[in-house]
């Protein structure tokens, strides 16, 4: 009777034995298991093993609250225990990744049930324990996010750590993990918290953030940072408000390029007298640069959103048809003509470039601003962003010489050649223009594209986004040549005939858009009474034009003498003329006209024009250059 039953095995210590009994009971009766552990706890209040086992059992039974309580108790009593530290590390790792595995979810839940000050302490301690700087910073961020009241103490320290870490690990690379944490996480937190930051470091941080986002946006797109522009604007808003910027409110409004530009312009006008005030200049400079870049970025995205890319060229403006009535109306008419029009064959009207120019003008409105702008551009290495825009800017401003200079450095590609041709045209360097057009015609893209109907608009000047496709490119080249050649219609002698003939060939490209020019040409031919064009049979196939010429040839049409010699075939060495011709010759002309007309719609016009430009370069040059 006095024999003891269930006595512990000798090799086990008392506490181990009690834990063993708890573990044994756990399988069938969790209450019994817990009673054993409570007993163990009361007999061995200083045993971490017992408390850890209690924690383990609560965790196993998914009692988040109880587990949290056990955890706090262990941490309080045994803050140096290795197992509890392992557990802390796992828990913090779960918090960081926020995975949805049941185990890590349980730990996250448990963390939330810990007393606030313990949560706080754990985050700080793990952050301090962490040997990896990145890890350290991420943990501090976690702390700041969960305990905004700690931002004032730990925020500035975190920022300093991030800056130093970046300097050591990624010198010269704007896009790196530390800068990303700074720009995407730390600054928004710091900016939104009531933390004092001195002006100098605020500005420095803001510029760091801007640099980061701009560099990130320029990289091949990834989805790691959603809406980078919006986030950048948020940072500008928050840090701007810390700096006391009047403009910071603007950055909280939804993006709209027109509205933003309008507000900045308004600000510049309102503060025109304060343009030597550091506060005014700083905010105007940084705000305008950021908005300018966003507009340019959006602009190029919009321009290149279709299947083809576009290139900005100067197209043609024409004065309004003069109405010969009262001067009053005339005056109003003139007002209606815009000094500069921008057109685009796609849906987007291309006005981003005008807004960008407006902002650029603000940035260069005073000498002081201009100097600071240049400094900032250099500091943030914005050349690559702005290079393209600056070329567009020279075109926009009609600074053709400058444009030529910039374009000549841009290398040899279709776009550059088109723009060079455009520039040379406006500089009246037709020889060079022709050289470029020949280059262009030799490397035409295969995409057909559509003819534009708005190459000529009613405006003093006209910039056009030309689609880089076969038809529009050829059309534009034809228009350039045509416009240049027109100047030589009234030359004396055979040079004029050659010019008129070339013009007839070129206007076929987008016939009948240049129908008016045909009238001018026929008037000239009638007044000269004769028309001789050796390339006639090779290149003129448009039925309308052929009919008009045939009509001129008839008695009724003026009996103009046509000399349409061919360079090849049966009629070699013979000239088909109509003056005083016999009946056989007449018949031959009719036949020739019919043969030509038969090719209309059969001979691809783009190939014909391409051939014309490539093969008849010398002849074209002849009609462009006045000897």
């Amino acid at each position: 009777m006095l024999e003891k039953t269930a006595s512990p095995e000798n090799q086990l210590s008392k506490e181990d034995y009690l834990i063993l009994r708890a573990k044994e009971a756990l399988a069938t009766d969790v209450y019994a298991a817990k009673s054993w552990l409570i007993t163990a706890k009361s007999l061995f209040p200083h045993s971490v093993k017992v408390q850890f086992e209690a924690y383990r059992i609560e965790k196993l039974s998914k009692n988040v609250k109880e587990a949290a309580k056990c955890f706090s108790e262990i941490f309080q009593n045994f803050p140096d225990d290795r197992d509890i530290w392992k557990e802390i590390e796992t828990m913090i790792a779960c918090l960081r990744t926020e995975q949805s595995e049941p185990e890590s979810e349980l730990l996250c839940q448990m963390f939330k049930h810990l007393p606030n000050d313990l949560q706080h302490r754990l985050l700080i301690m793990t952050a301090d324990h962490s040997e990896d700087t990145m890890e350290h910073c991420k943990l501090l961020l976690l702390l700041l996010r969960r305990f905004p009241q700690t931002i004032a103490t730990h925020g500035p320290r975190l920022v300093e750590t991030l800056l130093t870490a970046e300097k050591h690990s990624h010198p010269g690379h704007t896009v790196n993990g530390f800068r990303r944490l700074l720009a995407c996480d730390a600054l928004p937190l710091l900016g939104a918290a009531p933390v004092e930051l001195n002006r100098r470091s605020s500005l420095r941080l803001l510029i760091k953030a801007i640099e980061f986002y701009l560099a990130y946006i320029q990289q091949p797109p990834d989805t790691q940072i959603q809406q980078p522009w919006d986030r950048l604007f948020q940072v500008v808003e928050l840090i701007g408000s810390k700096l006391g910027w009047e403009l910071c409110g603007l950055f909280a409004t939804p993006w709209n390029r027109e509205a933003y530009t309008e507000s900045l312009q308004q600000y510049a006008i309102t503060n025109a007298t304060g343009m030597c005030d550091e506060l005014v200049i700083r905010q105007l400079l940084i705000s305008a640069i950021v908005v300018l870049l966003r507009i340019l970025n959006e602009h190029s995205t919009l321009i290149n959103s279709g299947e083809v890319t576009y290139c900005l060229v100067e197209a043609f403006g024409e004065p309004p048809v003069p109405v010969a009535v009262e001067p009053k109306i005339k005056k109003r008419k003139r007002e209606d003509v815009p000094p500069l029009m921008i057109t685009n064959d796609a849906e987007y009207n291309g006005n981003g470039i005008s807004l960008a120019v407006k902002l650029w003008d603000i940035l260069h409105s005073t000498e002081y601003l201009q100097r600071d702008t240049a400094k900032l551009i250099q500091q943030m290495r914005l050349d690559s962003w702005l290079n393209h825009f600056l070329t567009d800017l020279t075109m926009y401003k009609g600074l053709h010489h400058e444009a030529l200079g910039r374009l000549s450095q841009e290398g040899t590609n279709l776009t550059t050649h088109l723009r060079l041709a455009s520039t040379c045209f406006f500089l009246k360097d037709y020889k060079a223009m022709l050289e470029y057009i020949v280059l262009i015609a030799s490397v035409l893209p295969t995409t057909r594209g559509k003819l534009s109907k708005i190459l000529t608009v009613s405006a003093t000047r006209h910039l056009h986004y030309l689609p880089l496709a076969r038809y529009p490119i050829l059309q534009y080249c034809c228009r350039l040549l045509l416009a240049a050649i027109k100047e030589n219609f009234s030359l004396p002698g055979s040079a004029a005939d050659l010019a008129l003939g070339h013009a007839l060939v070129l206007m076929q490209m987008d016939w009948p858009q240049e129908g008016n020019t045909l009238c001018t040409i026929t008037e000239r031919i009638i007044s000269r009474g004769a028309f001789s064009y050796p390339l006639f049979q090779a290149y003129i196939i448009c039925v309308d034009i052929l009919e008009e010429l045939t009509y001129l040839w008839t008695e009724h049409g003026g009996g103009v003498s046509l000399d349409i010699a061919t360079g090849s075939g049966l009629l070699q060495n013979r000239r088909i003329t109509t003056r005083g011709a016999d009946k056989g010759v007449r018949e031959e002309v009719k036949q020739a006209m019919r043969r030509q007309a038969a090719r209309d719609g059969v001979d691809p016009i783009d190939e014909l024009i391409q051939r014309f430009i490539l093969n008849e370069k010398a002849a074209i040059l002849h009609s462009l250059i006045v000897q």
Binding site: M1, K4, T5, K14, Y31, K34, S35, S42, L43
Partner: protein
């Protein structure tokens, strides 16, 4: 108003109106400095309980009168006005320790439970404490309530589920009394489950009689509350040794219930350690009595299953060690430890408990 005038006025009223009116008068008297205790007693006796039959012709059957009285009592305590202290004083004098009115009291409390009448329940809680929750009167009241809810109308047990949230102080005292009702036999399974759920869902229930101060009239001395912990420990400790005719499966299931109660009790005791310095949660005598009973039972059923014997001793040792470590035992601890001494040869945990606490207790 003179005593006679009051009586004359009341005599003009029919029952139960006179009872209701008499209660109001008693309340008024009770809140006055003089109190006129004798008059109060007279009014109760004549007009409330109808113990003095002056008017011969009360031709209403007794059961119906009783029912009407129970309703009047419940309505009166629930009615607005009056301070809790005065009302509680009235309640205590309506049901003094030595009266034959327990039947009415029991029925009133059962009705109050059914209708969630907090005023009556709180007053009853105080009544239980002032008479001592383990006193024969209190145990009798508990028995009455259990009879009403578990025997007469077993389907209304659900009504009891929320009792701890409605009247924690009453429930805690009632629980102590219920513990005594099943001092010598195992409680019915439904009750066992109910008690387990009560504690599980209201962990502070076990000490709420210790923490809350009852609203007594000025000068009233609150009696020492007795927490239900020791009484319920006895349930779990002795349960496994009591012979019953249940199947093994059913026994296991029942033991799970006891196991749960044991754990909840242990947990509560351990919480006392951190939650405050209440040293009066468990009386040493209470545990000592259980130890004596256990010792006797171990001798009586010496041929019983070893596992059950171990379980009983194990739970006793668990209870003592937890309570000792929480330092919440009051009274003669030496006696308790001395009683445990012989058992230490039979179970290691009792031995370890003694090893740990003998020196501390002295």
């Amino acid at each position: 108003m003179a005593a006679n005038d009051i009586k004359q006025t009341l005599r003009k009223l029919e029952f139960p109106l006179c009872a209701r009116e008499a209660l109001s008068r008693i309340e008024t008297l009770c809140s006055r400095p003089g109190k006129q205790v004798d008059l109060q007693m007279d009014l109760m006796s004549e007009f409330v309980f109808g113990e003095i039959e002056r008017r011969k012709k009360r031709n209403i059957p007794v059961a119906i009168q009783e029912l009407q009285l129970v309703e009047v009592l419940n309505d009166f305590f629930k009615s607005p006005g009056g301070t809790p202290a005065v009302r509680n004083a009235v309640f205590l004098s309506l049901f003094p320790a030595e009266t034959p009115r327990f039947h009415i009291l029991g029925n009133s409390v059962s009705l109050a439970i059914a209708t969630h009448n907090k005023a009556v329940l709180n007053a009853t809680g105080i009544w239980l404490q002032q008479l001592g929750a383990t006193s024969p009167q209190s145990v009798g009241l508990a028995r009455h309530i259990l009879n009403d809810y578990f025997v007469l109308t077993p389907k209304s047990i659900d009504r009891l589920k929320t009792l701890p949230t409605i009247a924690p102080y009453f429930t805690a005292n009632l629980l102590t009394s219920i513990g005594e009702v099943y001092k010598d036999k195992n409680p019915p399974t439904d009750l066992l489950r109910l008690v387990g759920d009560w504690i599980d869902e209201n962990p502070s229930l076990l000490w709420s009689s210790l923490m809350d101060n009852p609203a007594l009239p000025i000068g009233g001395i609150p009696m020492t509350p007795i927490a239900p912990i020791a009484g319920l420990f006895r349930w779990s400790i002795l349960s496994s040794l009591r012979p019953d005719s249940e199947s093994q499966e059913r026994r296991d299931e029942l033991q799970k219930c006891y196991s749960k109660i044991q754990q909840l009790l242990m947990d509560s005791v351990l919480r006392l350690k951190t939650s405050g310095s209440n040293k009066h949660a468990i009386s040493a005598q209470h545990l000592a009595a259980t130890t004596r009973t256990l010792t006797t039972m171990l001798q009586t059923y010496s041929d019983s299953n070893t596992a059950f014997r171990d379980l009983a001793m194990e739970r006793l040792a668990q209870a003592v060690s937890a309570a000792m470590s929480a330092n919440c035992i009051y009274g003669n601890k030496q006696e308790l430890l001395a009683l445990l001494q012989p058992l230490s040869y039979q179970h290691f945990l009792i031995e370890w408990t003694l090893q740990t606490y003998t020196s501390k207790a002295s």
